[in-house]
Symmetry: none
Subunit: 209 residues, 4 copies
């Protein structure tokens, strides 16, 4: 999955024993950060298609070779940028009310998609259509963790507000799918009202009676 993050010729890794450092000049963490930032800025300003590896390198004050040493292509850079940017994500809320939890969560997500990051999402989903490895990485880095959290959040309500046999994967697709759909197809806007109505509609269909 994380093969998108190159590990050339057995280099240092932070999950190793911290006492035992790799030999040779260590990776320049500052450059790494600058590259990720530059990529992020450029996508948000110009969109994915308009940016080039050279542009990222120039803005980051790095060289193209450094970018290609660590990432196989520009999409991989953005994946990592995304990972870093959303590391401190708002957790699934726990208000006690399923309806309230879901509403809050959907609203937050809409806020994310309509914010500066929206363009990044569109770009990555688009790029993933032509790159299996990128698609897998996108799922592993972004979707899987978020779905795990959301699933756990819903699980708390199983047997109470939720039917015992509720299919949580289906529910999550029913909740998030329409949002991604509107983001990508652009036929309607993403509003808070949508979040609330969608939450009500879906939950009504799966609540315990």
């Amino acid at each position: 999955m994380t093969a998108l993050v190159r590990e050339p010729i057995e280099t240092h890794r932070q999950d190793d024993d911290p006492r035992q450092r790799a030999r040779g000049r260590p990776r320049d963490e500052v450059a790494r950060k600058r590259i990720l930032e530059a990529a992020l800025e450029l996508v948000e300003e110009l969109g994915f298609a308009a940016i080039t590896t050279d542009a990222i390198a120039e803005r980051a004050g790095a060289s193209k070779a450094t970018i290609y040493r660590w990432w196989p292509n520009k999409a991989a850079v953005l994946i990592e940028a995304l990972r870093e940017a959303v590391a401190q994500e708002t957790p699934f809320p726990d208000t006690g009310s399923l309806r309230e939890d879901v509403r809050i969560q959907l609203r937050d997500f809409i806020k994310l998609l309509t914010g500066r990051r929206g363009r990044l999402f569109k770009a990555l989903v688009a790029a993933a259509q032509n790159d299996l490895e990128l698609a897998a990485t996108f799922r592993a880095v972004w979707m899987a963790p978020r779905r795990a959290v959301a699933k756990a959040g819903l699980e708390r309500h199983r047997g109470r507000e939720l039917k015992k046999d509720a299919d949580l994967d289906l529910i999550m697709d029913a909740l998030y799918g329409p949002l991604y759909f509107r983001l990508l197809a652009g036929h309607r806007s993403l509003t808070e009202k949508l979040a609330d109505e969608l939450a009500d509609t879906v939950l009504e269909g799966i609540r315990k009676r």
Copy 2:
């Protein structure tokens, strides 16, 4: 919208007065068909990334100039290919039962997405993320007509199985969004079971009580 379909330098057009033909050699309809077919085949075989204008031209036995005379870019070719390919679309069913209508419709759509055409959809949605005009055309050519039909199909049930104030746009997004989502994100497969459960879940949430 349809600016994606070029009308070069005031040339002949079939929707004009049929008696008055333009002078000069008329457009080669056979070439047009071959180009659309070639484009379609290439997407389905190799995916969008593998498509180049040269490849389309070569497979169609046409020249690049011919392609660019009639379409402004390769995405426009695909849009038109899509339009032709789905011209004879299954209409929204009318079994009398809302649940049955929706199930049938979703199943048909899933069949479409998982068939050879799926790759084409992914390609177009992806390409549309970086091309506003293509996005608009995609909505106009593909989504709008289908949504209109589906809306009319649902409308028939308003006040009967459907709440009087049901938001049909929301419902359609709730029904189709998850399917597009799975198609594009690829985290789960598109099965008939999904169609049925999704129909039940969403309709349960909006049915008249």
Copy 3:
């Protein structure tokens, strides 16, 4: 030999039947000339190592792709430039006197090597050391024709001023070798005096007695 001059996918060639033109857009002869000129100018101004394919393209107002379509590398461009530049070469003189013929010829050659073209020669001989095909082309395009002419010029004197069994190849190497040597090694300058003395020394050794 002339494989250094690319002939991609059976394109037009001037030695074909002139009535039957190749299909497609013909090669842009103006661009070809501009490229050769640009390359020549750059070598003479900056030397071989300092020039880049981009620089040639830019100065010629052409694109890099055009260069690579017709020549495999920049050395091949120079070879062709050389061929064109020396097409109208001064023929081997025919004064009646062997000594005079050789003197004139060597002086002309020295004039060539010490002129603007000298740099080009150095560059090509240097580049040929790392490129077998280029080396072969250099010999075929430049050396072989000149040697043939010179050989014929010497042949006229065989049995008269020249021994009957004189090894003309050896003689030519004895005459030209030292000039190339000084050009490439740079330990001494190339002067007219050298031409005369060299002619006398070598001819003395091979004249009929």
Copy 4:
């Protein structure tokens, strides 16, 4: 001239007062030897074009930094390798016969050029065309000493077999130039027969009568 041999940041040097050694770890002579050997092997095996600093370092088990600490560029490494390799050169013979002396000397030289070292010469002469300093070093390290020896060898015969006013520089160019010429242009092979005939031809032209 010897600027090609770096003397970095005022470090120890063996020609200083031997009692006073520089501080710190002394230069690793083993590494130096391995680097020179590696460079030599690579030129002889693969030619100059195949040589990269990385390749030398890898084969020598050294690091690039070490190479660049002691030599300003890879050509300088080869120059030094050449210097070491030819340190124990066969001296100019002294048989008493000029003709015999020259023949032996030319044969030896041809043996050198056609042996494994030939490639090195070609490489250095080629590289020197684009590098003035390298060219100067090549002349100083390789050509000058050999020419001095040869000149002395010829000088012994002046007034005896040689004309009193013979131009020894010219003679040496007439003798060695053709050999370099064939080496670099590759139009004919270097044989012992060539050595003998060349010696006879040139000497005939300059001998005392």
